[in-house]
């Protein structure tokens, strides 16, 4: 089922003449860069989900708050939708433009406003890159904890929009746990500060609500993040297994031993091969699965924990256990994991990355299900897994130039996510719903729950102008999607019209 915006299913948009909108906004915000020629718009037609491309009507590149405010006010008055974009690295199409909409690009808001080492926080603009925050904090022995794989390129504004994670979430949390305050502009152009530099703020926790809301409730214009002291040391153990289920059980055994690793990652045979071919990380090519377990903290504790984990891994049936001897080897072990996506990209013309989460105990069942789907479809699937927090990234390999393969890959992906939901998990752990998983939202939530999401959206954006069509499906879309997924012969939402 096509995921591009479909007004029949996703709701009608106001159609305005491009020249009229252009001249209106130019007049209202004359100093702002506003792109309108096709060749200028082209670079913005997609984000990290490059399989989907839409040329926006206009691209706005503001550089100060007054411009953003004026732009939003005009769009609100004209009923023109606004899709906000950061660095454009998102993997779920959260910043996929609309033909009828303005793409608001926040990349020029790229200044670190302050770093306060004694209060351990940093104030930054939304276009600042994730890694740049840690770099600015490094001279004080501090860092910003969430580290999505794209951290060299992705922006903190996008991280807030998607509630981005990374490989250290089990111990250090997601973006929502590490942001203290955001300044927001509403679609009506009003300024709001949510959260505070203090550890709580009066009223509802709108700060938590803003994290992961995919640019649908407001435009984030400034962010205050928490900084942590850099752990004194970090050590990595790599364990090989001849059976992926054994590796899965070992993960539970580590947690049961009372240890919360800084990172705990799993890769299956295909992912190991891809990574090894690409970065020569020293991974064992004969293993069915490897676990990377990073322990961080104070030197003496880490040494104790390494010993405990080693014993647990031996007992769990690891065929080989290696501890990185030095920082260089540790970096190599991680290089394989952090480059797993591009590594898989070298093996196949295209790949499709999923992001489901499950309770860890369901891992064997879900892996079997994925293997069966892979076999049925004939598409290879490599599994990379934030094992500690149950976040799976199956990578479906396909060739978009071959007739029907993209659709097949999407179909397999959708089924994998439904498998995660059945196992008690979620369709997305950290990449967000965006446009990509809009249909699977209908599997995860009932109509009444989706109605609550729409009610919440209406409180902030009654005209549905901020990023329409993302994150929350319409009930009409779910009815259409459900029609293709009839369970027990019961048609979901029989009251709704179908297309």
């Amino acid at each position: 089922m096509n995921i591009l915006f479909d007004e029949r299913l996703d709701g009608e948009l106001v159609h305005r003449d491009k020249a009229e909108v252009l001249s209106d906004i130019q007049q209202a915000v004359p100093t702002m860069t506003l792109l309108h020629r096709e060749e200028d718009l082209r670079p913005f037609e997609c984000d990290g989900l490059a399989a989907y491309r839409v040329l926006p009507m206009l691209v706005a590149l503001p550089e100060n708050l007054e411009q953003v405010e004026a732009l939003l006010k005009r769009c609100h008055a004209l009923d023109v939708p606004v899709v906000t974009r950061g660095a454009g690295t998102g993997l779920s199409g959260g910043a996929l433009p609309l033909e009828q909409g303005v793409l608001l690009v926040m990349s020029r808001f790229n200044r670190i406003l302050s770093v306060d080492p004694d209060a351990r926080l940093a104030r930054v603009q939304p276009g600042v890159r994730n890694l740049a925050i840690s770099e600015a904090a490094a001279p004080y022995g501090l860092y910003y904890a969430p580290d999505p794989s794209s951290q060299i390129a992705c922006s903190i504004g996008g991280n807030v929009a998607e509630n981005a994670g990374g490989v250290h979430c089990l111990k250090y949390g997601l973006t929502v746990h590490n942001v203290l305050r955001v300044d927001v502009l509403t679609i009506e152009g009003e300024h709001m500060t949510l959260g505070a530099e203090s550890l709580d703020a009066p009223g509802f926790d709108l700060l938590a609500l803003m994290n992961g809301s995919e640019g649908m409730l407001g435009v984030v214009t400034e962010i205050t993040v928490k900084l942590l002291p850099k752990p004194e040391t970090a050590k990595v153990l790599m364990a090989s297994f001849n059976d992926i289920e054994k590796a899965g059980r070992a993960v539970g055994d580590i947690i049961a031993a009372g240890i919360i690793p800084g990172g705990l990652e799993m890769m299956d045979r295909l992912a190991i091969k891809a990574a090894e071919d690409f970065v020569k990380a020293g991974y064992p090519m004969d293993a069915e699965a490897i676990l990377l377990c990073e322990l961080d903290g104070v030197e003496a504790d880490v040494d104790d924990d390494c010993e405990t984990v080693r014993r647990v891994l031996e007992k769990a049936g690891a065929t080989q256990i290696q501890q990185a001897r030095d920082e260089a080897e540790r970096a190599m072990f991680w290089a394989g994991r952090k480059n797993a996506f591009p590594a898989v990209g070298r093996m196949s013309p295209d790949y499709y990355c999923m992001d489901g989460t499950i309770p860890r105990r369901e891992l064997p069942r879900v892996l079997k299900g994925i293997a069966a789907l892979s076999e049925q479809s004939g598409l290879a699937v490599a599994n990379v897994f934030h094992a500690g927090d149950g976040n799976m990234h199956p990578l479906i390999l396909f060739d978009a130039n071959k007739e029907g393969q993209l659709a097949l890959a999407e179909d397999v992906g959708g089924k994998i996510l439904e498998l995660c939901v059945e196992a008690g998990g979620s369709i997305t752990g950290e990449h967000g719903v965006g446009r990509e998983k809009i249909n699977q939202m209908c599997s995860q939530f009932q109509a009444d729950e989706i109605r609550i999401f729409h009610a919440l959206k209406a409180a902030f954006d009654a005209k549905r102008l901020l990023n329409p069509g993302k994150n929350i499906p319409t009930l009409a879309r779910c009815a259409e999607f459900g029609a293709m997924h009839v369970h027990n012969n019961e048609l979901p939402h029989p009251e709704l019209p179908r297309f």
Binding site: A119, R360, G429
Partner: protein, 366 residues
């Protein structure tokens, strides 16, 4: 499931609760949601028909290896904590408990967190999912029982601390953590200025500190972590040993500071880390610094406007914790600015159109 959990009252009355809410919605009858009724003092008084949550209790599921527990809102905090302790796990946000009848639902609805807050996170940071009773009397599920879940808006965290003004919390899933293997508490004689300076310096290092407070010339610190790091830090900081129960007395307000009779109202000042002492006319013995200085308990007859002005200037806010006390503030919570308030009202109007959920508990308009 543990024996202890099974022995605890295990009863699902969600259907009955849904009926009551539906009925209240149809008849436009305001509800006053009550668990153990131990936190009723916190906030504005609510006029309404009581919705009793205490019977809706029991641990729905607990898998220590997954680090996830799901409980019904009426479950007593003590019961949940005992079940977790059997597996050497805990609720990391250390919720205060003001009486044996305190429930987990009340702890989440008020969103209060104990001394570990600055290092571990707040109540909302450990809420993974909820089942909520909506204004139509429907039981809906948001979030889940997995560590990472970004599907849809984060209703569960929005409900945390909303004091039941947006819906009824029926079941809650938490992330839990292992109890640290080693622990040591100590006290140091230090002036306030020296203590705040020391905490700022220590805060920049990766030390196993999980609580820090200052009162009447003494800095109190709790160390928790691995054996080796706790030992090393203990030796480095020196100091006299301190009973571990000190932190529970601070958390639950059973410490002598909170117990004196005929006290002026108790205020909770929430301030950015490393905020200097505020220029307010309050004797030092009437202030208790918790959260490494970010949360300050103050007994004072100063008026709300004066306190709030000083806190706001420092980037924080002030809550009158005992609004019923002689001289307590009519508005316990810092008023919101007009734009933020507008969106609070709109949200309330969407999720609680007829104002049946704890109306007025947070603010008159909500």
């Amino acid at each position: 499931m543990t024996d202890l959990a099974i022995n605890a009252a295990d009863r699902d009355i969600s259907e009955h609760l849904c009926d009551q809410v539906r009925n209240a919605g149809e008849t436009r009858t305001p509800l006053r949601i009550a668990g153990g009724n131990t936190r009723a003092f916190y906030g504005r008084p609510v006029e309404g028909q009581p919705l009793h949550m205490a019977e809706h209790s029991g641990i729905v599921s607990y898998d220590p290896v997954e680090l996830v527990v799901t409980v019904r809102a009426g479950t007593r905090l003590s019961v949940l904590q005992a079940a977790l302790a059997e597996h050497h796990q805990m609720l990391p946000f250390e919720p205060p408990s003001f009486d044996e009848s305190s429930t987990i639902g009340g702890a989440v609805a008020t969103g209060l967190s104990g001394p570990r807050r600055p290092w571990a996170g707040a109540a909302r940071d450990f809420v993974l999912g909820t089942r909520i009773i909506t204004q139509e009397g429907k039981l809906l599920r948001f979030g889940g029982e997995v560590m990472k879940n970004v599907a849809g808006y984060d209703l569960s965290r929005l409900m945390t601390g909303a004091q039941g003004t947006l819906g009824v919390l029926a079941d809650i899933s938490f992330k839990v953590l292992p109890v640290p293997t080693a622990s040591h508490c100590l006290r140091l004689s230090l002036s306030l200025e020296e203590a705040l300076h020391k905490l700022a310096a220590l805060g920049r290092e990766p030390l196993p500190i999980t609580a820090a407070a200052w009162h009447a010339g003494e800095l109190f610190i709790r160390l928790e972590g691995g054996e080796s790091s706790v030992k090393a830090t203990r030796e480095r900081l020196d100091g006299e040993p301190l009973e571990a129960s000190f932190w529970a007395s601070l958390r639950d307000h059973t410490h002598d500071f909170f117990k004196r009779r005929d006290d002026p109202p108790l205020w909770r000042l929430s301030l950015p880390p490393n905020t200097a002492p505020l220029a307010l006319d309050i004797p030092q013995q009437d202030i208790f610094y918790d959260w490494g200085g970010s949360q300050r308990w103050v007994k004072t007859t100063l008026d709300a406007a004066t306190l709030r002005k000083a806190c706001q200037a420092a980037g924080g806010h002030a809550t009158c914790y005992t609004p019923q006390a002689q001289g307590g503030a009519a508005e316990p919570f810092t008023p919101l600015n007009s734009v933020v308030e507008k969106y609070h009202r709109r949200l309330k109007a969407e999720l609680d159109t007829h104002a049946i959920f704890n109306p007025g508990r947070l603010y008159a308009a909500l």
